[in-house]
Symmetry: C2
Subunit: 246 residues, 2 copies
């Protein structure tokens, strides 16, 4: 049995998220269909984690196991020619038989892009959240510092999400802005993320940026463990899974 | 009679070009429909020039004349709320009654984006031409210098195009590349462009970059006035109308 590790870029715009469904276009569905075309076997392709509808990935990581004579090079070029243009395989590497893209993930990095100016964009509108109100980046950066460390992130988890515990360790969280331009990037690295965690954090950081709440309030919300204290979830199209480390 | 000057950004991906047609989505069609919704008058919106299907614009310029009490501010906000998300009005200004977006245009600048690496991109694939073969940028830059000045550009005009003459003056043409990255940009400014001229130039510059022809051959092709000497037309989705000066 061979085990293959894939690094995958996708444009989430026209997908109903990673996870295969009875109907609707999914990244997992497209990948499993392409693997089937190459192997004539129904093989599960398992990612580091699901991404929701509309969320993009620059470096999603997945694995699949199968008995095959096909090599990593065969899958790399074969999958890229079979997959639709909104999915690109960046690498296909051999992995230990025990390698598991979800269980073995040590850290993940996400970026969230915001276009902060009066006018929305036509070009690239599917890759950033447009916010008209001028955001105060200094306050957002100050608030983001409260994310770093090991915390219970219940306040930023969607209610009703099934999980064993909600304690995660964030190793880095920062806001980057163009010196004069309208683009903001929020980057966060952690050993794991709860459902909607990044988008709920971004929604609440934007409330800080709009001076609706203070950076101190942000820390209080985190400590409240109460989802109803945090702001509304940011839309999916600004979110990118950048990389997964093992 | 008032005359309004618009600066317009659009994502050409889902349009059949600028010019209104009996069927199919066009930028002119969307703009005229929005102007009709605001004025209840059938009013022609005239651009600096047509863009073809799939071509984008960051600063297309257009005008429309009408008898109305509505102000530039009314049209700026009204059109932006009525138009689809792939068209954004950047400004609406009052213009002299005689102002004409096409006849009065002095210069236009286009950019053409190329992604030069083995792998295509999923993110942003609708905004750049992916070319696998390594392009030799120095040769392309050298060839591009032959474009500057006043020349008959027949060799880069699509055959069968109706026009009075094919002499144009190019004031600037250059290739820009990331220092280490895979992105190339070709930028060209001229007092006018023939049909498919930028895309035919780019196709031929890419032949230079692939060392299929030399920079000297490029100048010879320009002088031949013969479309059949130039390379195939580059695809539309890498092309952006950046700005129009008056």
């Amino acid at each position: 049995m061979k085990n293959f590790k894939l690094i995958i870029e996708y444009d989430g715009t026209d997908f109903n998220g990673w996870q295969i469904q009875k109907s609707g276009r999914t990244i997992q569905g497209a990948l499993e269909a392409a693997v089937f075309q190459m192997t004539r076997q129904n093989i599960r392709v398992t990612a580091s984690g699901r991404t929701d509808a509309g969320v993009h990935a620059l470096g999603q990581t997945a694995h699949f196991r199968c008995k095959t004579r096909l090599t990593t090079d065969d899958f790399f070029s074969g999958l890229n020619s079979l997959l639709p243009a909104d999915i690109v395989i960046h690498s296909c590497q051999p992995a230990d038989e025990s390698f598991h893209a979800r269980y073995d993930a040590r850290e993940k990095t996400y970026c969230y892009y915001i276009l902060n100016r009066d006018l929305p964009a036509a070009i690239g509108r599917q890759y950033a959240w447009h916010i008209k109100n001028r955001l105060y980046v200094g306050a957002m950066q100050q608030a983001a510092e409260a994310l770093v460390g090991t915390h219970d992130f219940s306040a930023f988890e969607n209610t009703g999400s099934p999980r064993s515990d909600s304690i995660r360790t964030v190793s880095a969280a920062r806001i980057m802005s163009d010196e004069h331009g309208p683009h903001l990037t929020f980057e966060i690295t952690a050993n794991g993320f709860l459902r909607y965690m990044v988008r709920n954090i971004v929604g609440t950081l934007v409330a800080v940026g709009r001076c609706k709440i203070t950076p101190a309030d942000f820390a209080t919300i985190r400590d409240s463990l109460d989802r109803s204290q945090a702001a509304a979830t940011a839309p999916p199209h600004g979110l990118f899974l950048v990389s997964v480390t093992y």
